[in-house]
């Protein structure tokens, strides 16, 4: 942060000193009490990166344990805590806030030509709630963590374990309200703060996908909040809503939990899809094929996402008729998802494609998301799910969506808008290499897990039969490559904040209001109120600013 703020400010064309949001004020207070959506986005960037690193550390330890068939590195109960905390940190503290709170926060006001989000103080409050929730979780981690799995299934979580279930539950509960407030802010902002002339069908697809995401955050998160509250009440007051001994039903917890936690997968992937739509259009230099279909596909995914939670409970004692309905509905999610993939592909067709780093991430996203999505259709099939339920097939499937999909999109977006956010360029060679290393490392890590799962290796065990070792060693080797890939952007992004060449306003020659203001943007985002007169993605657009191919 400070590295980005220290360089001497440049000057505007008229000679006046150039003041932007980074150098407008200095000192810790100017960050911790800021109401500027751009600074809050950077606060989030730092926080989610810390949680990503911690969650990643857990993954490293898990993969180390699984190199050998015997459980020789950790005791089983330590291993249980490792995969639980890996899931909790990655899902609730990295993937869910990730793109919306960092890129969405920074970009939505810029993309719609507004000065800020509708409720700047609530935006800051949401970061504090996130931090307090994170503090609870870290405190619990230091006191032994939780060993129930990130799903907190009852009655294990309510009656049997002695770990910090309530502390982590409180952390997730509070962080959930941070997510709700972010979604609320986005919905109101997108409805009420659009620039003159910016009709709904002139909005960038990034904004559409964040609108759909916000709907899920608003409608889903309160339900998991009440489910967590009930788990805490069961543990402390023994109320028994989920306890068969007291007349309750543990499957009810699974219903309430997945009513949020399945749509939560779309909280993670929809913003990523929004990023990819921007990247594909920019680097193919073509308008998105079937803009309205892609826009409504986001809403379609959000709506269908609320109707499929039962596919997590095919073998949990749910009625077979409910299973059939949930199976069919789950397959329907493939329709809007496929619309997006086909339309991105059609956009590429006869496009003038350039292979800049963000585009490499976007193309990686399309491939990995397709594999993750198609295996999802397999899992929606009752017969196959009964076979591979709770195996590594599931692990591989959702990592293809949440790591291959969501994180590729997140990194692609960070690389795309980094010059706008920091006003600096990063090295082209190293960043392209990072995209390649991450893509390879990811596939080597997770593709063997599909095979392992299909052969019958169950998830959440710290030892396994010897015949699974080769594939597990492959997976762990891939994880090493993947980890190195993730370290590279960390290094060159930090480097670029101090040493990177200054970025022009529009380094990629992209359309979109955010590229029409300076890099980094001024505090009030635009010197004059922008007026929109055309639909988005009016490519071919201005060529990239001269001398800006990011160092090459």
């Amino acid at each position: 942060m400070t590295a980005a703020a220290t360089p001497a400010p440049g000057t505007n064309p008229d000679g006046s000193p150039r003041v932007h949001y980074l150098n407008a004020a200095y000192g810790l207070k100017s960050w911790l009490l800021t109401r500027d959506h751009k600074r809050i986005a950077l606060l989030y960037l730092v926080s989610v990166s810390v949680f990503f690193a911690l969650g990643g550390l857990m993954a490293v330890l898990i993969r180390m344990e699984l190199v050998t068939p015997a459980g020789d590195l950790f005791q089983p109960d330590i291993y249980n805590r490792l995969f639980t905390m890996h899931g909790v940190l990655m899902i609730f503290f990295f993937l869910i806030p990730g793109i919306p709170a960092v890129l969405g926060n920074f970009l939505i006001p810029l993309m719609i030509g507004a000065k800020d989000l509708a409720f700047p103080r609530i935006n800051l409050l949401s970061w504090y709630l996130y931090s307090i929730g994170g503090a609870f979780t870290l405190w619990a981690l230091l006191h032994g963590g939780v060993d129930t799995g990130w799903t907190f299934y009852t009655p294990l979580s309510t009656n049997y374990v002695t770990t910090s279930v309530i502390t982590v539950g409180v952390g997730i509960f509070i962080a959930g309200f941070s997510s709700i407030l972010t979604g609320l802010n986005f919905v109101v902002t997108i409805h009420r703060m659009r620039a003159p002339g910016l009709t709904w069908f002139r909005l960038p697809l990034f904004v559409w996908s964040h609108y759909a995401t916000a709907l899920i955050q608003i409608l889903g998160t309160p339900v998991v909040a009440i489910a967590i509250l009930l788990v805490a009440a069961e543990r402390t007051l023994h109320v028994g809503v989920f306890d068969p001994k007291l007349g309750g039903d543990p499957v009810l917890f699974q219903h309430l939990f997945w009513f949020y936690s399945h749509p939560a997968v779309y909280i993670m992937i929809l913003p990523s899809m929004g990023v990819v739509s921007e990247l594909i259009a920019t680097f193919a230099r073509k308008p998105i094929f079937g803009y309205k279909f892609v826009a409504f596909a986001s809403i379609g995914i959000a709506v269908l996402g609320f109707l499929v939670w039962g596919h997590h409970m095919f073998v949990a004692g749910q009625s077979i008729y409910a299973g059939v309905v949930f199976s069919v509905l789950s397959m329907l999610v493939a329709v809007p998802s496929a619309i997006k993939v086909f339309n991105w592909t059609a956009t590429l067709y006869k496009g003038s494609i350039s292979w800049d780093t963000p585009m490499l991430y976007a193309l990686g996203f399309i491939g990995l998301f397709t594999i993750g999505g198609l295996t999802g259709v397999m899992l929606a099939t009752l017969g196959i799910d009964a076979h591979v339920h709770d195996t590594y097939f599931i692990i591989a499937h959702f990592h293809y969506i949440m790591v291959g999909g969501a994180i590729m999109g997140y990194l692609g977006g960070l690389h795309f808008w980094w010059p706008k956010i920091t006003g600096r360029l990063y090295p082209a060679f190293w960043s392209r290499l990072s995209a390649l290393v991450i893509f390879i490392g990811f596939n080597v890590t997770f593709f063997p897990q599909f095979i392992l799962g299909y052969l019958g290796m169950p998830r959440r065990y710290h030892s396994y039969p010897p015949e699974f070792q080769v594939l597990n060693v492959m997976s762990s080797a891939g994880a090493t490559i993947l980890g190195l890939g993730y370290l590279m952007p960390l290094v060159y992004f930090i480097w670029s904040m101090r040493y990177g060449p200054k970025a022009p306003a529009n380094p990629w020659g992209a359309t979109g209001l955010e590229w029409q203001t300076t890099s980094p943007p001024p505090v009030e985002n635009f010197k004059t109120q922008p007026v929109v007169t055309a639909p988005p993605y009016t490519y071919p657009a201005p060529t990239p600013s001269p001398g800006v191919a990011l160092g090459d």
Partner: protein
């Protein structure tokens, strides 16, 4: 919700109208999340009510319908005074608005006091779930489940009432000080929406917990 709605126009809005629209839409959106929050408990109640109708009916009969009805009337009256208080804000009559807010405050507190007496009655009758729970009749386990849900749902509602009363007290003080104008009384309006919502939750709780199955 609409903390930045105090005073005049915040820096990032173009007009007071846009600011007001945003504040009101924000509050409505927040209330949607509240509906989903209570929705989880309503779903649990609906499920168990349909699974164990007999014992739920028997347990429901032990609740005091007189106190419940009284409290329902009190809350509906408080919604009226709250609506009049918001009207006072819209027409720029700060003192009148403050008066109605104080009335709302009194009615809301009355509700909580009566609720306290009801809870006390449950303690005396050993209808509070836990080691001392006792219920005459078959299937005491599921009767206890009814009372668990009763305390969770009315308790969460009462918690929302406490927050509402604190908000109303704050808004009353500001209204008396003339803080709300016909152009900008967003915080007052947001508090009003919240109050009506909490009232409405009770309008659903009352028949579900007290009335269904009584002939």
């Amino acid at each position: 919700m609409a903390t930045e709605a105090h005073g005049t126009l915040a820096h990032h809005f173009d007009s007071l109208e846009q600011q007001k629209d945003s504040a009101v839409l924000g509050m409505w959106t927040f209330l949607v999340t509240e509906i989903l929050f209570f929705g989880g408990l309503f779903a649990a109640y609906g499920l168990y009510r349909s699974l164990y109708p007999e014992v739920f009916r028997a347990a429901s009969h032990t609740l005091s319908i007189q106190l419940g009805t009284f409290n329902t009337v009190v809350l509906i009256a408080s919604s009226l005074t709250m609506a009049l208080a918001v009207r006072g804000g819209q027409t720029g009559k700060g003192k009148l608005s403050a008066l109605f807010l104080v009335l709302t405050l009194i009615l809301g507190s009355t509700f909580l006091v009566v609720k306290g007496f009801e809870y006390h009655e449950k303690f005396v009758e050993h209808h509070v779930p836990g080691a001392t729970f006792h219920f005459e009749g078959p299937d005491a386990v599921h009767a206890q489940l009814f009372f668990s849900l009763y305390f969770l749902m009315t308790g969460l509602h009462a918690l929302h009432m406490v927050v509402g009363i604190a908000l109303v007290a704050y808004v009353a003080k500001r209204a008396a000080g003339g803080a709300y104008t016909p152009e900008n009384h967003n915080f007052l309006e947001g508090t009003g929406l919240y109050w009506h919502f909490v009232d409405l939750v009770w309008i659903f709780l009352f028949p579900l917990l007290y009335l269904i199955g009584r002939h």
